[in-house]
């Protein structure tokens, strides 16, 4: 019997996306009517031919996955790494049979349970107890199985007292704990997990990681998607790197992580965006992290392409969130000090920004960018526009560095003993 439990062969997934053609403005009612009539005609034709309705007048094929090949062996815990939009979630959806591939094939041996979200199917009107059974059944557990594990699930979730309260009265923390408790007690042969750990408090996250590594130890195959390199390093022996819908082969997690991290410099580029009607907007950009070296402290370098439809003055505001979604830091040029306001000449402007990243904990950060007229309004607001992985190197003899997954916060402050700067002993 072969030891390969999942084999993907030339796997591809295609989506159709619609675009509005051109960005001409409509001035006359006649144009609007003509355009809507044309749209109606197209949809009528699509319905008659049983095709999917795609809004917009230009339809483009988009391959979320293309020519993906890999083999996963029994008992391996495999991490799937890739940037936003690399096709990770699409891959998980195909493996968990939620959607079918457009090309290629997958062979799976064994019972698959997928965990693409915690608390799938939770009903707010039902009590905690009822939701355990409901959610368990949805995840593929039998009633007998849930009954057997019920006490364990309740103990794990730490919500005994509220078991008979409708979950709509739960705090979000309790909700997530209950949801994860059910999920953690699944034991299929193959477990497919999306980035579900990015919720809940740090203490609980650690507990979940522990529970999941138990699962991986018992000869079960686990597929795990995460932005958190640490979680992947802690849980997974092997990894696959996805980029623009194409996959690397399966190899050792450390090798893949070091490739993903790309020699400690990680760049991410956002795909071009549009913002009709804005006087000033962000069209695309990229971010890269540079660890500290002898000359310079660590920093993040942003390159932003900004389109100005008119000559304008604006401030740049940069917000950083960590993988838990908590805001970590803020930086601005001109946001607080009117003297620093940036002048954008009409046309395309390229802005290069350096942000100090000296004290950031290791892990991934999401960068949101706002272009504002301070105190008045936003020209443009791009939430989670870029992401960057911070991987500090140290020169001061530290053997460890602060990591987001510790749950201690994402910012390390400088601390020293009072007195002389290099006083190392209490006088």
């Amino acid at each position: 019997m072969s030891d390969v439990v999942i084999r993907a062969d030339q796997l591809g997934k295609k989506y159709l996306i619609g675009h509005q053609s051109g960005n001409e403005r409509y001035t006359a009612l006649r144009d609007v009517v003509a355009r809507n009539a044309k749209g109606l005609l197209h949809s009528a034709r699509d319905i008659l031919q049983g095709r999917q309705l795609v809004s917009g007048d230009e339809v483009e094929e988009f391959w979320a996955l293309k020519d993906v090949n890999f083999e996963i062996k029994r008992g391996d815990a495999v991490g799937i790494i890739g940037r936003n939009g690399a096709g990770k979630s699409t891959l998980l959806k195909i493996l968990s049979r939620i959607t079918e591939p457009s090309t290629g094939r997958v062979e799976i041996r064994g019972r698959v349970a997928s965990l693409l979200e915690v608390g799938t199917g939770f009903h707010p009107e039902l009590t905690g107890r009822e939701n355990i059974f409901l959610n368990g059944a949805i995840l593929g557990m039998s009633r007998a199985e849930i009954q057997r594990k019920f006490d364990e699930i309740v103990a794990f979730s730490e919500v005994e007292r509220f078991l008979d309260t409708p979950v709509k009265h739960y705090s979000s923390g309790m909700y997530v704990r209950l949801a994860f408790a059910v999920a953690a007690h699944l034991d299929p042969e193959i477990l497919v997990v999306d980035e579900v750990l990015a919720v809940g408090d740090a203490e609980f996250q650690k507990k979940c990681l522990g529970k999941m590594s138990d699962v991986a130890c018992c000869g079960r195959t686990v597929l795990f998607v995460s932005h958190s390199m640490n979680a992947i390093q802690a849980l997974c022996s092997h990894a696959i790197f996805l980029e623009k819908g194409r996959s690397s082969e399966v190899s050792k997690a450390e090798d893949i992580i070091s490739r993903y991290v790309g020699g400690a410099i990680v760049a991410s580029a956002a795909s071009p965006r549009e913002n009709d009607g804005a006087q000033l907007y962000l069209s695309s950009g990229s971010a890269a992290y540079y660890p500290s070296d002898i000359n310079e402290d660590a920093n993040i370098k942003l390159e932003l392409n900004i389109i100005a439809r008119l000559n304008s003055k604006a401030a740049l505001e940069i917000r950083l969130r960590d993988t838990l979604g908590s805001p970590v830091a803020f930086a601005t040029i001109g946001g607080f000090n009117p003297n620093d306001i940036i002048f954008f000449p009409k046309g395309k402007c390229i802005l290069k920004v350096i942000i100090s990243a000296k004290n950031l904990a290791r892990g991934c950060y999401f960068i949101s960018i706002d272009i504002t007229n301070p105190n008045f309004y936003y020209f443009d607001k791009a939430d989670d526009f870029l992401s960057v992985a911070v991987e500090p190197l140290s020169f001061d003899g530290s053997t460890r560095c602060l990591d987001q997954s510790y749950g201690f916060g994402s910012l390390q402050l400088d601390a020293r003993l009072e007195g002389s700067p290099d006083a190392r002993a209490i006088v």
Binding site: R97, I98, E100, V106, V112, L116, I138, A144, P188
Partner: protein, 298 residues
Amino acid sequence: MSEQAGAIAMEREQAKDSEPASPAAERILILEPGRAERNYWSDLWHYRELFAILAWRDISVRYKQTVIGVAWAVIRPFLTMVVFTILFGKVAKLPSDGAAPYPVMVFAGMLPWFLFSSILSDASGSLIGNANLITKVYFPRLIIPTASAMVALTDFLINLVMLVAIMAWCGFAPSWRVVLLPAFVLLAVLASLGPALWITALNVKYRDFRYIIPFIVQFGLYVSPVGFSSAVVPEDWRFWYSLNPVVGVIDGFRWCILGGDSPLYLPGFATSLCVVAGFLWFGVRYFRATERTFADMV
């Protein structure tokens, strides 16, 4: 050799023990574009517990946070019955079926009609209502509309008790044929599932159907012989009238409940059966053909 076989058998045994719900221990699952699921119907059986629990969820949630709760299930058909009895029976002076009191005749037609219309409207919105499940977990999608049909069936059973009460009040006793009622209930469910499956699948792709359903339900109440006996329809039209599948179902119900006073018009009934079977076949086929793409469109 035999030892090995024994070990494998034991492993199977254990696998069975630990996972009662799992299908055959080592099944190879192949995912390919356009590949029809070979063990779809057996899969459906494996997911029966999910079906039960989703039906239970829909039923228990239905009247949560309402003041009079289940009474809603009774009030709607009861008031409709009163209005129809007055309108068709007293004002328009339409004849009842033989000796059966007009309210009993109306209610006997109202029961299958409400069953039909609530299955149609609940099931057709069910896939969109459960979009969060469809995009996150796999199971045979047929479970969702059929589970939501169970809610309508519960309401139906409550109304059945109501019918018994009305019959007792009017002093009307059913004949032996009433034992065939379950068969006609099944017929009513199948008659509504056919179009419901078709429309719910279409609804995922084209939301226009969301607006068509209330119209069909409203319109159907007057087109179908709910407030009046189908014997009122002129003989020449009766066959064409039976193309409406609900006609056969309602006539069947009345034949069961009202006894000899409501004879069954056989050619019409046979036509209705054919229409029901045709719709069901078409509905299931269409549903199965589009089911794999639901997650991408919903």
